[in-house]
Amino acid sequence: MFSLQHHIRVKTNRERVTARRDFLKAVSVAAVAGGAVSWTDRISAAASEMRSNGKACILLWMAGGPSQFETFSPLAGHANGGATKAITTSVPGIEIADNFPSMAKMMDDVAIVRSITSKEGSHPRASFYMHHGYLPMGGVKFPTLGANVAHQIGDAACELPSYVRIGGRGQNSGDGGFLGVDYDPLILANADRPPQNTRPMSTDDRYARRLNLLRGLETDFGRSEGSDVVSDHRKLVDSAAEMILSPKMEAFDLDREKTNVRDAYGRSQFGSSCLLARRLIENGVTFVEINVGGWDTHQDNFTKVKELAGQIDSPMAQLITDLKSRGMLDDTLVVWMGEFGRTPKINPRGGRDHFPKVFNVALAGGGVKGGQVIGRTSPDGSEVADRPVQPKDLFQTVYTTLGINPNHENMSLVGRPIRLVDEGSVVTELLG
């Protein structure tokens, strides 16, 4: 629970803050008396507070495996490129697919890696790999990228969860793993709807009283039989209670934005998700993941990708623009990726199948040097011709960019140290 006792840094709405302080006092005194706060909880809370460095990350996850050719690695002039045309961008010499006219204008801030290469061609394994930097392994509950980032640099003083996932039924997207429920993502099905049931059904005083009663209830059960579930459950109840009593809940309310801002992001689910991501980061959330499904284009690849790109191109460009104009881009890393790419050859159904051997990732902000392309493929797109980048290299880079030591070791539940990334090296060209 112990972020509850933390110093509260809220600039607005003095009244509510005072009420909140009283509330926290009421809860925490009893909690300490009841022995609900373990020594490790205090230490870890303090440690993560010290580590917090103001950096944040937005992961735009393209579930299903987006075609590299129809996005940021067009193959104009080769039969494998299909009907997709290449367009010039704001950076001379860099061309991307014509499905992304708005992103083409943002190229100065964007770096494209065209030579990501992996061996994982099935959705569950590949999605796990690109979310965790590890392949699934029995017995080890690896934390997902967002959980590791939240654990390393999350702002424990923030009443909102450090890690929020918006939309979709992502496959193997992962959770806090052995880091525990504190680092599980808060999952929102829909960016336009704030989390439900966030208004206590009793006065603040009575709510605090009830929470204290609840905490005292489970001492017997929590002592032996259910010590693990009781402890997890308490953390959840505490984070939930803390969140909903926070004035920062307003971050979830997109209607607080001006009409022109909402219009700039677009009135679509992805547009709202991007705007919500920016609002959440502004309010102290460290990692926001936005899921966009539908990229598994075994059939009608060209029509489908055009449609999907039409949904994401403009909001994604607006997100980068907006972060930049608010001075947030240098500290906010935006990563666009999926679990793998698509086959260079077009199948008889006009589709492209799974292809992990060569695919692409786009990055912006967070100190990443924009306006560059890293890696090159063979003219037919079937091989990496220059600068192969393994998923583990990418994870090394993402952690490093966020000011996190990729070699940091966490102790897993079985007492085995697990590094954030166990192999690979930083793609230094990406760092400014």
Binding site: G138, N197, M201, L213, R234
Partner: protein, 554 residues
């Protein structure tokens, strides 16, 4: 026991007699079945002891009656016992009361409902076709009937594998529908659910650690290419129909991606995805049994069903899954990844239990009775063990599945499912596909999880915690109500004068046990501090419903 007036309870026992399950008919099980249950359970414990438990000091003690009763209710009928049932059971001096209650519970129709919902989740959580939620009702209704009638698990599997018909009328179509009728996906699911073998890893490449090759997988898939799935075009309902295509003039695609059925299955050429690939002859990887090219869909799927249900892995997969659900951990983990290349934690025990399950006609009621009669099941719970600890020294606390939690809420708050149920979570996905939206479905969307996932990876979430704490209508149901709208709590407060009894009743109503001395003292002190009896009772009920003990089975 904190029962002041034993006469009151004696009266309750007299009123309820020994019938402890709701509306349970007196067990008509033949004495023979009862004997094999007890005998098999004892043999399972004996084998576990010799394989794993040489050191009996590790073993958790047997669970107390109240704990055991709540556990066995949730595991059989998916609900919590009422205060009357809990009290009567604890006071019942019959040394055979556990056996008796167990037999009554598996004979209760709710037993079929509970496990039908479980297997609905097993099938539908892995859906690749979102609209498969349309089959949620039909698959639940069909499985409920099969399980309650005592059909063997082999019959259920055969029906799933050979299904045809409208997905809203024949629940057996659910696996094919959930996999969008696609040959490879359907094959993989059938192998996973009924054999516990994840052969789909061999779909794209030969797996380095498994013996199955790509050919093995695609030869198995060759039993299913002719299966079709088509949308039913009707002005009045949206549905789909599983069928077959034996008409050689309608040539579907080699991979049946368009769901119109293909005469034969083709294994794709990984180097040349545009090539048609290799035509595969149906062949069962575990026995080598083959069918000719050109065989009809009915013969293919019928043969596949026979081969799968006759395989020793069929019984083992089910035993492993049910054991994991009841004892908290499978012999193999995850429950659906067993097979000859995996190691069981107690191989002789699971082999024996699987053989006995087959010898007892794959009877699910029998299997649940046997497992729930073992000492391994009846022990107190402990937190999930670490990999190096000895397995099965204790039962394991499990998060309730959504249906169990939903039923428990209804029981604890005395709400009937047909009443206006206090949940208002949105589920637009289901709505969009025209499924019947019920409060239970909505609740399941918010609280459900894939029951095949390793249970330690299932954790609660902030939205779930918020839903139980703050859903407005649920708070009304947890309140003392008003003169116009009475609630169960309101009636309790009015009818029980003694605070101690009121607290005890609230504990029994929610956690199916009496409070400990310190819990009672705390609750009474809380009441004192609040001053208002009604408010204090509301707060206590709210806290009990929001406790982790309520949302778990210990």
């Amino acid at each position: 026991m904190r029962i002041r007036d034993t006469l009151v309870w004696a009266a309750i026992i007299a009123a309820f007699g020994t019938v402890l399950a709701p509306a349970a008919p007196i067990s008509a099980e033949p004495a023979h079945a009862e004997r094999t249950v007890g005998k098999t359970a004892r043999e399972v414990d004996r084998r576990l002891a010799s394989e794993l438990h040489k050191n009996t000091a590790d073993l958790a003690p047997a669970a107390a009656d109240a704990t055991w009763l709540r556990r066995v209710w949730l595991d059989t009928v998916g609900d919590i016992p009422s205060p009357e049932h809990a009290t009567a059971f604890v006071l019942d001096p019959d040394p055979k009361k556990r056996e008796r209650v167990l037999a009554e519970l598996v004979a209760n129709p709710q037993f079929g409902h509970n496990w039908a919902r479980y297997f609905r989740d097993v099938v539908l959580y892995r859906r690749v076709e979102e609209r498969a939620v349309l089959a949620a009702d039909s698959v639940t209704a069909w499985l409920t009937e099969e399980i309650n009638e005592g059909s063997g698990w082999d019959k259920v599997a055969r029906d799933f594998i050979t299904c045809t018909g409208d997905v809203r009328e024949n629940g057996a179509t659910a696996i094919v529908f959930a996999q969008d009728g696609r040959t490879e996906e359907t094959t993989a699911e059938i192998a996973r659910i009924f054999l516990g073998i994840q052969i789909q890893c061999a779909q794209c490449h030969d797996h380095p650690y498994d013996r199955w090759s790509r050919e093995d997988f695609h030869e198995l898939a060759a039993f299913f290419p002719r299966t079709t799935l088509r949308q039913v075009v009707s002005a009045t309902k949206r549905s789909f129909e599983v069928g077959f295509n034996d008409n050689p003039r309608i040539r579907g695609k080699g991979d049946n991606a368009n769901r119109t059925g293909a005469p034969e299955h083709y294994m794709p050429d990984l180097d040349d995805p545009q090539a048609p690939g290799t035509r595969m002859q149906p062949k069962f990887f575990l026995t080598g049994t083959e069918l000719d090219f050109g065989t009809s869909d009915a013969a293919r799927r019928g043969t596949a069903a026979e081969l799968i249900t006759k395989s020793p892995w069929f019984a083992k997969a089910m035993v492993n899954r049910m054991w994991a659900e009841l004892v908290g951990e499978g012999f193999y983990e995850p429950v659906d990844d067993i097979g000859p290349d995996r190691e069981a934690s107690a191989p002789e025990t699971i082999d024996y239990l699987a053989e006995q399950f087959a010898a007892n006609d794959y009877d699910l009621k029998w299997l649940v009775q046997v497992i729930a009669s073992t000492d391994a099941y009846g022990r107190e719970s402990r937190p999930r063990r670490l990999p190096d600890d000895v397995p099965f020294t204790a039962n394991v606390v499990q998060p309730l599945r959504a249906d169990q939690l939903f039923n428990s809420l209804l029981s604890a708050l005395s709400i009937s499912e047909t009443d206006r149920v206090p949940f208002d979570f949105k589920n637009e996905a289901a709505k969009a596909y025209g499924a019947r939206i019920t409060p239970r479905l909505i609740f399941n969307a918010a609280f459900g999880y894939d029951p095949s996932e390793p249970r330690e990876s299932v954790s609660g979430s902030i939205p779930q915690a918020l839903a139980l704490m703050n859903t407005p209508q649920l708070n009304v149901a947890m309140s003392a109500g008003s003169r116009l709208r009475t609630t169960a709590l309101g009636k309790m407060i009015a009818s029980i004068d003694d605070d101690e009894q009121l607290v005890t009743e609230l504990y029994l109503k929610t956690l199916s046990r009496e409070p400990s001395d310190s819990e009672l003292a705390d609750a009474l002190a809380y009441g004192e501090s609040v001053g208002d009896r009604s408010e204090a009772a509301e707060d206590l009920l709210w806290a009990l419903i929001n406790s982790s003990e309520f949302s778990h089975r210990r």
